[in-house]
Symmetry: C2
Subunit: 131 residues, 2 copies
């Protein structure tokens, strides 16, 4: 694996990804950090997110409206994606997502990860009345 120097921006990006449950896009992270780090550039956010992916420190959840959404929580759990607002929510079902070794055993497929995505309407959106 490549050698990396210390980088306060990289740390800030990783901390931002991990400290939110919004399953953010690169642009979201950039816009959140920009006020505090005025000389941050979007390219740096993309570069570091790519780095975290390669290191396995974050995971890709899904793509909503053309934007990739990521998660700093790499423990087994699923996600609910709202078809209306596009928000991504955590669904705790560790038991379901953890054991995937047997399901495809003997098929020749080497499973490295298993993700369950639920799509539908989130509580917030279903409360809103449509006029």
């Amino acid at each position: 694996m490549a050698k990396h120097n210390f980088s306060s921006k990289r740390n800030a990006i990783y901390d931002m990804v991990c400290s939110t449950d919004t399953h953010p896009s690169a642009r979201w992270v950039y816009e959140k950090l920009k006020p505090d780090i005025p000389d941050l550039s979007l390219g740096t956010v993309y570069r570091n997110i790519a780095l975290f992916k390669n290191e396995g420190k974050i995971r890709v959840v899904c793509n909503v409206n053309g934007e990739e959404r990521i998660d700093g929580d790499i423990t087994p759990h699923s996600h609910f994606i709202c078809n209306k607002c596009g928000n991504v929510y955590d669904i705790c079902d560790k038991q379901i997502t953890s054991d995937f070794s047997s399901e495809l055993s003997g098929t020749g497929y080497i499973v490295e990860s298993k993700f369950i995505l639920y799509y539908g309407i989130c509580p917030e959106c279903s409360e809103k009345k449509i006029h």
Copy 2:
């Protein structure tokens, strides 16, 4: 719902999506059809795929290397995505993907669909020796 005229190109696009198990991207469909339909344009493929999505005639499977991959088979089943070659394979597990009504019942989330994605190495890629 909107009214639609007959369109031979639309039919050809839909047939191509349904007759392959490659879980194609828009560009793949375009390139497959182009030789037989020289005056087909990529925009038309995108427009019709968007139409099929709205009608629920196809579903989005995942995004591989920035390309959205679709499936003309909308019956309950899961998918395996190869981290090496990017191919998307069908996984038959109707019983697992069909019943999702209970799992999030009483949570306020209205589930419209449930998708399971397996990521790993496909049989073809695991056979290849790395030099």
